[in-house]
Amino acid sequence: MDNIAQLKSFPRPYRTTLTTKELIKSGAAPARYSKNIGIGFATPDAAKTGTYVDKKCPWTSNVSIRGKILKGIVISTKMTRTIVVRRNYLHFVSKYRRFEKRHSNISVHLSPAMDVTDGDIVTIGECRPLSKTVRFNVIKVQKNHVFGNPRKIFKLF
């Protein structure tokens, strides 16, 4: 969450009027907009009570979660508001009638409402393209579920 002064454009929250007469008078913060993404996923408290503005957050913007719901292990949280999730799977080689381990990395948008570190197991939901490679959004976190280097762990979901 950067300092507002460092931003070039004022961060306007989705679906909230910032200057109504009541708000100007009281000087209070406007009522925060947050929605339920559905499919049985809980809205985090930080989304309902926080002060961040994220136009790609599934709870506080017009991004809708629809389509695939996947699970993976977090391997990198170095990008601003986006993480890399590793999904492992087995590929069947018909000649040898055996399986081989494969993985794919997905770039996933991480809302400031979620607290995620490397090694967490994360549920991600499909949404519309948010950037060149991001089509998923983090909707649930299971913290500290993976021991050791998350890039070396093979775990199927």
């Binding site: 507002i4 002064a5 070039k8 004022f10 910032l18 200057t19 109504t20 007469k21 100007i24 008078k25």
Partner: protein, 201 residues
């Protein structure tokens, strides 16, 4: 076929950094057009025939737009004086280019008329005083009643008394042919004033 601007993904590299094999030519539905670079001036709007027979209005020059003061629920056409800030580049500010999201200074006369009609107040020597226009006793009573419930953002009022009104453009002049927006108030106004003063330094 030579086509200039295209909006395809085939020219970009993959996420892994590898090149994409270009196995087909540019398609018409992927084409783009040059930016409108709408400037301030006497209105000049061209109609463009787009994909599917739809039209877009490309504003090449604009001088006014519909600006809303959201706290009062008032909206009126106002002349745009100049472009004051653009998050994208200072070049656009220098050349007075109108884009979505740029901050402009607008002519305050529309808002002044609104204030005098609703509250019976006018701006004189940086203060709000009773209008010099004649109003009936009934109108005066309405004005006094309205003044009791008047809530104006202090930052906005401070600048309004100096005949300065800033607004943010929220329409896309190159797409709709209009330069409409909303008057800045409150925290947003303070934010952009800071940006403008920083730029002056």
């Amino acid at each position: 076929k030579t086509m200039g601007i295209s909006r395809d993904r085939r020219h970009k590299r993959r996420a892994t950094g590898g090149r994409m094999p270009i196995h087909k030519g540019k398609r018409k539905f992927e084409s783009g057009r040059p930016a409108s670079n709408t400037k301030l001036g006497a209105a000049r709007v061209r109609t463009v025939r787009c994909m599917g027979g739809n039209t877009k209005k490309r504003a090449l020059r604009l001088d006014s737009g519909s600006f809303a003061l959201s706290s009062e629920g008032f909206c009126a056409t106002a002349r745009i004086t100049n472009v004051v800030y653009n998050a994208v580049s200072n070049e656009l500010v220098r050349t007075n280019t109108l884009t979505k999201g740029c901050i402009v200074q607008i002519d305050p006369s529309g808002l002044k008329t609104f204030f005098s009609k609703k509250y019976g107040l006018m701006v004189k020597s940086q203060e709000l005083v009773d209008t010099e226009f004649k109003c009936s006793a009934e109108q005066k009573a309405k004005h006094l009643l309205a003044r009791e419930t008047r809530v104006t953002c202090p930052v906005f009022e401070g600048l309004f008394l100096q005949n300065k009104v800033f607004a943010r453009v929220s329409s896309r002049p190159g797409q709709t042919g209009t330069c409409d927006g909303y008057v800045l108030e409150g925290k947003e106004l303070s934010f952009y004033i800071k940006k403008m003063t920083e730029r002056k330094k």
